[in-house]
């Protein structure tokens, strides 16, 4: 693994949503680069363009200006192995929890038996082992999000794009799943672009935290997180450097609203 090459490189990115009536500039001159194996979190006020940034990186949206490159190649449509957790859960309503998680494995053509093992392991990890036969409609909001998470883990992409993945989870579940994810990540070292509203979470997980301005979104500041790894996902919060960083980021964001 060439740890130094940029996995995702965003240069002067501009995105505009146009309808007949309005034209909204969502992102304006955004520059961002994620190295191979780096964990970057993005925080920013609501509606500043975080989801938009992620969609561009996934190749689902075409930028109006600038460019986004994956492994040095311009992103044109969905290219590399990119796994996305959508802000809404994007589960297939007609498939059971089991089949929803199985989907990426099936697409990769993995054998049925290994699919079953893997799916069960992941469902256990997100605490939904008993719900494998349920349909999404029969789950609570947080449970649905956990299924979506398990599905992305099953895909295990080279670049994780996660849009508020722990959004509707209670504090404890958040910690449990966050811990698992961090452990998993520390073992394999994939690149992650992580969107969250929880500054503590951003710091606890990331190598770098990026703060965006309010709409049109620009990069306001970047914070290196110089905390050793592996980190204790929860206890790290009581570290002095952590507290310091948290305060800094908070103030940086506070200027925005």
């Amino acid at each position: 693994m060439k740890k130094n090459q940029a996995k995702l490189q965003v240069q002067n990115l501009e995105v505009r949503y146009s309808t007949k009536e309005h034209s909204t500039l969502a992102l304006d001159k955004v520059n961002l680069s994620i190295r191979e194996g780096e964990f970057v979190s993005v925080v920013g006020p609501s509606g500043c363009g975080k989801s938009t940034l992620l969609k561009v990186a996934a190749g689902l949206l075409k930028p109006a200006g600038g460019q986004a490159m994956l492994d040095g190649k311009e992103i044109d449509g969905v290219t590399g192995r990119v796994g996305m957790v959508f802000q809404n859960d994007a589960l297939l309503p007609w498939k059971t929890v089991y089949d929803n998680v199985r989907l990426p494995l099936e697409i990769q053509g993995i054998s049925r038996d290994r699919q079953g093992e893997e799916v069960r392991r992941l469902l256990r990890m997100v605490g939904l082992a008993e719900f494998e036969r349920y349909f999404p409609r029969q789950l609570s909001g947080g449970m649905r999000k956990r299924v979506a998470l398990a599905r992305t883990f099953a895909y295990d992409p080279e670049l994780y794009l996660m849009d508020e993945p722990f959004g509707p989870l209670d504090a404890q579940t958040r910690v449990t799943i966050g811990k698992e994810f961090l452990k998993m990540w520390e073992q394999v070292g994939k690149s992650v672009l992580f969107i969250t509203h929880d500054i503590e979470e951003a710091i606890a997980l990331s190598d770098r935290v990026v703060v965006m301005t309010s709409r049109p979104g620009r990069i306001k500041a970047e914070f290196e997180v110089n905390l050793e790894r592996p980190r204790p996902f929860y206890d790290i919060r009581f570290d002095a450097r952590f507290k310091e960083l948290q305060k800094e980021i908070w103030h940086c964001m506070a200027e925005e609203t």
Partner: protein
């Protein structure tokens, strides 16, 4: 108040039967009293006729022909129309070009085309099945097409990020998404298929319920007309129940 509430089977069926009996009873009673019995016949006469036809063996003779035409035509038309809808929905600008022509063809009165069908396809079973297909295929096409326009974009985006192939997109997202629409068109098309086979039998036939109705009409035999219509309704109800069972299975996730 949601239109999907569940009621007990007994309650539903007893109500249905009661309603049916009520309607038939009213018809029986009023026919000949409130209105001219000739034009509306009577349930009892129809029943008598059905028994008579069963004994003579003509019932199954006519019924089976119409049933075959309708069912084969329905299957071919549904599959063909749905596939056409899917293919066209993903054919880019070509769809925009060809679409108005398809809708224009759809508006052609099949009755008027029937004589031309004879010239083109003869008077055998195949031309009748084709007539049914011509009735059925457009609704199937249209609903499949419209269903695809209504697929949740997020789900397709999700499939894209997993780099799903065409076939996988089709089986995991597109087909399940448009199932509601396909079932709708299937239910609408039961009626269409029956109408189609009757129309086909209007022109150049010597069997089938449509033929029987036309023949009875020529004989001023209103009971015969109503018997034919009743049998067609019977087929429709039976086919409808089959679709309802299918729907229950396919849409149980809701």
């Amino acid at each position: 108040m949601s239109g999907t509430e569940e009621y007990g089977k007994v309650k539903v069926w007893s109500g249905r039967i009661a309603l049916g009996v009520l309607l038939l009873g009213l018809w029986e009673l009023l026919s000949g009293r409130a209105f001219n019995a000739f034009w509306l016949s009577k349930p009892s006469l129809i029943l008598e006729r059905i028994v008579e036809m069963t004994q003579k063996g003509t019932l199954w003779f006519h019924l089976s022909v119409t049933l075959q035409e309708a069912v084969f035509g329905l299957i071919i038309g549904m599959v063909g129309g749905t596939l056409l809808g899917i293919v066209l929905a993903y054919s880019g600008i070509f769809e925009r070009w060809i679409y108005p022509y398809i809708m224009a063809l759809y508006s052609l009165p099949r009755v008027s085309l029937a004589p031309l069908f004879i010239v083109w396809f003869g008077i055998g079973m195949s031309s009748k099945i084709l007539m049914v297909v011509a009735m059925v295929i457009f609704v199937a096409f249209y609903n499949a097409f419209e269903g695809i326009r209504n697929i949740d974009k997020d789900l397709l985006d999700m499939m894209k990020t997993y780099k799903a192939g065409k076939l996988q997109k089709l089986t995991w997202v597109i087909l399940p998404s448009i199932t509601v629409w396909i079932l709708t068109s299937l239910r609408l098309n039961i009626g269409m298929a029956l109408i189609g086979s009757v129309i086909a039998e209007l022109v150049g036939a010597n069997r089938g319920l449509g033929y029987y109705i036309t023949y009875s009409s020529g004989m001023l035999d209103t009971t015969g007309i109503f018997t034919g219509l009743f049998l067609i309704m019977l087929i429709a109800v039976v086919l409808e129940q089959v679709v309802i069972q299918l729907e229950r299975r396919l849409l149980k996730y809701r």
